[in-house]
């Protein structure tokens, strides 16, 4: 169980779930969470590769730390935008926002 492929499969699953969530969820918060899943899938990858393959064990971990920090910022920005949207549209459903097209 403690092999690289396990982690990779899990991360691939996470990635797919995230992608599915982004495409399927109509709720903006849900979409935001799905995006976090994507990032976490990547994080998992970094860690796994770091553990099994990389010559320098620091790299992956550092990256993961950075990503986590950025993800937090991203969530903050995203939430603030969603909040603003909610104030204007009284909805956090993405279907409320499809006027611009063509």
């Amino acid at each position: 169980m403690n092999s690289l492929s396990t982690y990779l499969i899990i991360s691939a699953l996470l990635f797919s779930l995230g992608l599915l969530g982004i495409l399927q969820r109509r709720n903006l918060i849900g979409m935001l969470i799905s995006v976090e899943l994507l990032l976490n899938a990547a994080n998992l990858n970094f860690m796994a590769y770091n553990r099994f393959l990389a010559p320098d064990p620091v790299v992956g971990q550092v990256i993961t730390l950075f990503v986590m920090g950025l993800a937090a910022a991203e969530a903050a920005i995203g939430l603030s935008i969603i909040l603003a949207l909610y104030r204007k549209m009284h909805s956090i459903n993405i279907e409320a926002a499809q006027k611009m097209k063509g």
């Binding site: 992608l19 993405i94 926002a97 006027k99 097209k101 063509g102």
Partner: protein, 659 residues
């Protein structure tokens, strides 16, 4: 440049031939608003030209053929030469053109007096004189072609002189286009020669043809093509209908261009390169057939029309047919001689008719007769002289030339040509005297109503005085021409000697020119020899009696007291109609042009441009824009649809790489 002033012959040639051009330019640019000055300039310059022509003729009467040339430009292997070729034929023709043009311009002083386009008229007359003279003395076929076209251009303008009249401008256009049809053949023939032979000099061509310097195929092909030019310009079958229509122009124009000189240019060109043509038996046979058909067809048309000028127009066509027949059967001199005499008497006929038309304001011979046409003594006498010459009655000039032609035709192995010629002579005499009798002996006498009664009041006296000047301006040229018609016939032998002489040409020209002329002399002498052998008294009798027969029939029907004045053809309305409608040739052309060209190709092509090509392009534009609209659906407002698209594309790319 200096050479022009050093050599008097060259100087006279250049001056005589080109003075009218400058006159035209001056008239068009400066003296448009001064008709008097314009006409004086024009008449003066053509008089100078005529004098130059006559003096050239006199000076070079016994001299060898002269050739002047200068290289005009070179393109690749093509040397285009510009030059003059003065030999008996061109000198004779130059003189004819000069004299008749001069007379006609003098005549026009009266005929055209008071016309709003007086200056324009003289400008175009000068244009014509310039082009015609240059064409006559052209040294190469290309140059001849160029001026041949310019002559056509002058003819276009002069036919359409009364451009307010739709029919006039229509006739001008028709003349130009029909000529163009022939000219394209001519042009192609020249190109063929240029490519096959490389030289279009007239003496060189004649020499090459007579010494078998040209392959027979090339010779025949180019001769046939060049003959197309003759068909167009000299109104031969099947392009003959433009000439009667060309009578829309002022009568002096008809006299000068459409009978005496311009239309004869075709025949002139034929005789110009006669040795060349005679190198091809097939081409000569073809020309003979065309000439005969033309002669008979147009005679038939002349028998039914009441329009004075139309009669002479048809007659011109038929006489041109005669000339072509003569030339095509080897009668070089006969053709040229008939050309000469015909120029004289046909101009005479037209100018006389012009006086009638000017007086009575109508072209209808019956009305002219009724209103007292015969009271105009001078024109009446002169027109009769002309008609007699045309009918070939001794001692008028037509008699001699027609005899010459008949004798050549008689020498042909196939007697059908001779028979056709005789029959044509009968018809000629018939229709010309039908006209004469109509005017001279009108049915039911003369109505006592003179056209002068129309005018009146204070201007009457002035009219009268003016009328005198006008009348004499017209009458004097007519009388001169009548005199010429009387005496010209007797000049047959000196003329023949002049035209036919084989000359000792000095220098290099002797090589070509001399030999060419020898061929002419040889061929012609053969023809004449035959004629004399087959018994000239017999011929003489036949010829004269043909003319008299025609006159007699005309007298029976129109001249004698109590004659029906309808003509025997009126009993067969179908034939009358056939002749009157010019054997449906015009109908055929019109229909053909309308249905095939305008309704057919033109609308098809226009439709193709609008619908298929333009429509296709617009279609591509619409398609492009439509696909823009279509693609814009990819950019839907729904975020997740867009994301799906993005992910799918990325997925597709990944799949593509992995698999």
């Amino acid at each position: 440049m200096g050479a022009i002033f050093r050599d008097p012959v060259l100087f006279a040639t250049v001056l005589g031939a080109n003075l009218p051009f400058f006159t035209m330019a001056v008239i068009l640019i400066f003296t448009r608003h001064n008709p008097r000055l314009s006409s004086q300039l024009s008449v003066g310059s053509i008089a100078v030209s005529a004098v130059c022509a006559i003096s050239l003729l006199a000076k070079l009467f016994f001299a060898p053929a002269l050739q002047y040339q200068t290289l005009w430009f070179v393109s690749g292997k093509l040397n285009i030469v510009f030059g003059y070729y003065l030999d008996p034929l061109s000198l004779l023709m130059l003189t004819i053109v000069g004299i008749i043009a001069c007379l006609v311009q003098i005549y026009s002083l009266g005929y055209m007096a008071g016309d709003p386009g007086y200056s324009r008229y003289y400008a175009f007359q000068s244009l014509f004189a310039w082009a015609m003279m240059n064409m006559v003395i052209a040294g190469s076929m290309l140059q001849l072609f160029i001026f041949w076209e310019m002559v056509g251009l002058a003819s276009y303008f002069l036919i359409g002189f009364y451009y307010e009249k739709w029919s006039a401008s229509q006739a001008g256009k028709k003349a130009f286009v029909m000529n163009r049809v022939g000219d394209v053949g001519f042009f192609l023939g020249l190109i063929l020669l240029l490519l096959g032979f490389g030289n279009l000099g007239i003496p060189e061509l004649n020499h090459a043809a007579s010494t078998h310097g040209l392959s027979q195929g090339l010779l025949t092909a180019s001769a046939l093509l060049i003959f197309c030019g003759v068909i167009g310009k000299s109104a031969q079958f099947p392009l003959l209908t433009w000439l009667p229509d060309a009578m829309e122009g002022p009568t002096p124009v008809s006299a000068l261009l459409h009978s005496a000189t311009m239309v004869a240019a075709g025949v002139y060109m034929f005789s110009r390169i006669f040795p060349f043509f005679s190198g091809s038996h097939d081409a000569m046979q073809f020309a003979l057939v065309i000439g005969t058909v033309t002669m008979l067809l147009s005679s038939s048309m002349a028998m039914v029309t009441y329009d004075l000028k139309q009669v002479w127009a048809y007659s011109t066509v038929s006489q041109l047919g005669y000339m072509v027949m003569a030339l095509a059967s080897g009668g070089y001199f006969a053709g040229v001689f008939h050309l000469t005499t015909h120029a004289g008497f046909k101009a005479l006929l037209f100018l006389c008719s012009g006086i009638f038309i000017h007086e009575f304001h109508t072209n209808d011979m019956r009305i002219i007769g009724k209103q007292g046409g015969r009271k105009l003594k001078i024109p009446m006498v002169c027109i009769t002289v002309g008609a007699l010459a045309l009918a070939g009655v001794f001692p008028f000039s037509g008699f001699f030339s027609k005899e010459a032609i008949l004798s050549v035709l008689a020498a042909q192995p196939n007697k059908i040509w001779f028979a056709a010629g005789l029959f044509g002579a009968v018809l000629t005499a018939y229709y010309s005297f039908r006209l004469i009798f109509h005017i001279l002996l009108p049915m039911g006498g003369i109505e006592e109503k003179h056209h002068h009664d129309d005018h009146g009041g204070s201007s009457h006296e002035h009219e009268e005085e003016h009328h005198g000047y006008i009348f004499w301006a017209m009458a004097i040229p007519v009388m001169i021409l009548a005199g010429v018609s009387l005496v010209l016939g007797f000049a047959e032998h000196p003329l023949e000697h002049f035209i036919m002489r084989s000359v000792n040409v000095p220098g290099e020209l002797a090589a070509h020119g001399g030999a060419a002329l020898q061929t002419v002399a040889h061929v012609a002498a053969e023809g004449a020899g035959h004629a004399h052998e087959s018994g000239s008294p017999m011929l003489l009798i036949l010829g004269v009696s043909a003319g008299l027969l025609g006159i007699f029939v005309a007298w029976l029907e129109y001249g004698r007291k109590g004659a029906s004045r309808k003509g025997f053809l009126s009993h067969v309305p179908a034939i009358w109609k056939l002749f009157d409608l010019r054997w449906f040739m015009d109908v055929f052309y019109r229909k053909g042009l309308d249905t095939f060209m305008y309704a057919g190709l033109t609308s098809l092509f226009t439709l193709n441009d609008r619908r298929i090509i333009d429509g296709g392009i617009d279609g591509i534009c619409i398609f492009t824009e439509g696909s823009g609209r279509l693609f814009s659906f990819l950019q839907s407002g729904m975020l997740q649809f867009n994301l799906l698209l993005m992910v799918l594309c990325a997925g597709a790319a990944v799949l593509y790489f992995v698999i």
